[in-house]
């Protein structure tokens, strides 16, 4: 596995197209691999995510089974003469994950559930809209995904019962674009709600967490959702 970081030059026309169209960025990421990535089954796959650190600093992270070549991205939306991209092997880090480690994490995901309004209706995938429900979506999946979000020791500031986690839900964005079906060439509308979680987690099941980090969490993985990354947790807290 490899982890890749590419900084997008937001001053360029090519960057505009990639940042506004999740489809174009998905195609560009997939074009980084000489051999077409295989996404059958629940194994490791290509995942990507955009981190908007500030208006001018936008980073593209890619996790992939094969080493990518982002030359075409550098030419369209990078700094061709002075900057490229960084790719590092992910496996050594993944193999070091151990129970009870704490890490800060960032995850951009598509929190959805399937509902129906009455028994006769087929269920329909529906986005969670409020931060409360979006966080509940993450907490519901954490055990299967091999981690728990760290709980705060202080009581909740709003006076309600229940746990208060070290996590923020931010950066909600709704994507909507037209897409043409590959099989029957019919066009339809795609709507995806993206939201970013930033917080601290404790490793519970290293194998499950490795799977989460390499195979992704949740839906809409083609459109920049599902990639979780870890960074060192500060020791001060």
């Amino acid at each position: 596995m490899f982890l890749t970081r590419f900084r997008i030059n937001t001053a360029r026309i090519g960057a505009r197209r990639l940042l506004t169209s999740p489809q174009s960025l998905h195609a560009a990421v997939m074009a980084s691999f000489a051999e077409r990535p295989d996404h059958q089954g629940g194994g490791p796959r290509v995942l990507w995510r955009l981190d908007h650190q500030s208006r001018s600093e936008v980073l593209l992270y890619i996790v992939s089974p094969d080493r990518p070549d982002l030359t075409h991205l550098v030419e369209q939306a990078g700094w061709p003469t002075t900057g490229g991209w960084q790719t590092k092997p992910y496996a050594p880090f993944l193999s070091r994950l151990a129970i009870d480690d704490t890490w800060t994490f960032r995850l951009t995901a598509n929190p959805v559930h399937s509902i129906r309004r009455h028994a006769a209706e087929p269920t329909k995938r529906t986005a969670h809209v409020t931060p409360r429900h979006q966080l509940d979506w993450l907490l519901k999946r954490q055990t299967d995904a091999g981690f728990t979000v760290v709980e705060r020791s202080e009581p909740r500031p709003d006076g309600l019962d229940g746990a208060w986690h070290e996590v923020v839900v931010r950066n909600r964005s709704d994507l909507a674009f037209g897409k043409r079906n590959e099989t029957d060439d019919r066009s339809h509308k795609v709507k995806v709600t993206r939201v970013t979680f930033d917080g601290r987690l404790r490793v519970v099941d290293p194998d499950a967490l490795r799977r989460t980090l390499t195979a992704g969490l949740g839906k809409a993985k083609a459109y920049g959702c599902g990639l979780m990354t870890l960074a060192p947790a500060e020791q001060t807290r």
């Binding site: 982890l3 970081r5 981190d51 908007h52 650190q53 500030s54 992270y61 960084q86 590092k88 092997p89 992910y90 050594p92 880090f93 800060t104 960032r106 923020v168 931010r170 950066n171 970013t196 930033d198 990354t229 870890l230 960074a231 060192p232």
Partner: protein, 246 residues
């Protein structure tokens, strides 16, 4: 201020309000704040007084109104047809204040103020905000204060909606305009035809009233709270590459 006077404060908040002072014929305008005649009418209605009843005691109350949330003026082009004959009624233009909140205060004899407070808590005729089509969104009575009109208006908490308070969260105290009766013998003031003499439907009469505008400052409940604007938000640092060896 003598011991024999108290102040009753009222919260006038609703989706629409309309306080006319000088409208005639088909163009029904609104002032930018509740009128004394409108509030006196509300109090008289709460007490169950007849239209033709004597209101001299209510008209003699000292009146002031605080503009907690000025709202926006909206215009309604109203057409109507008679329910039975089907004939069209005169086309009229009606003006309203939308999403406004005011605190009105009346000062007077303690017994009368107590009676009025009891009346607005269980009104005979329902209160409305200047026009019968404008119901209040919350109970209108706040409380009875001792110690003068201005003390009451300064001690009454800011009644504006949370979004207005949040918008001014950089101010710990906010200045609110007050339009009040001008004490006799002071300045020329502004004259408005807003001294109710009689609400008799056959012959409504209003006298002139001298008003002046002042300001009071009250604390902002949401003042000094951290701004939640998106521009100020800096995402936390997150560097997953630093962990990995080449």
């Amino acid at each position: 201020m003598s011991d024999r006077t108290s102040v009753l404060t009222l919260r006038l908040a609703g989706p629409l309000q309309s306080w006319g002072a000088s409208s005639r014929f088909a163009r029904r305008t609104t002032e930018r704040a509740p009128t004394k005649s409108g509030v006196v009418g509300l109090l008289a209605a709460a007490q169950g007084r007849d239209r033709a009843a004597d209101i001299a005691d209510l008209a003699a109350l000292r009146f002031a109104v605080r503009l907690d949330q000025p709202g926006t003026r909206v215009r309604d082009y109203q057409t109507a047809h008679h329910a039975e004959t089907g004939k069209s009624m005169p086309v009229s233009e009606r003006f309203y204040l939308s999403d406004a909140v005011f605190v009105a205060a009346v000062e007077g004899d303690t017994d009368l103020i107590g009676a009025l407070h009891a009346a607005v808590r269980s009104p005979v005729y329902l209160p409305f905000l200047g026009r019968r089509s404008c119901p209040p969104s919350r109970p209108v009575d706040l409380r009875v204060h001792r110690g003068g009109l201005w003390r009451a208006l300064e001690s009454e908490p800011w009644q504006a909606s949370a979004w207005v308070q949040r918008r001014r969260s950089h101010e710990r105290r906010v200045e609110l305009e007050v339009i009040a009766d001008l004490p006799t013998g002071e300045g020329p003031g502004d004259a408005v035809r807003d001294r109710p003499l009689s609400f008799d439907p056959h012959h409504r009469r209003y006298g002139l009233r001298a008003v002046h505008s002042r300001a009071v400052t009250v604390p902002n409940p949401l003042g000094g709270s951290p701004s939640t604007s998106r521009r100020d938000f800096v995402p936390p640092k997150h560097d997953p590459m630093g962990l990995l060896e080449d």
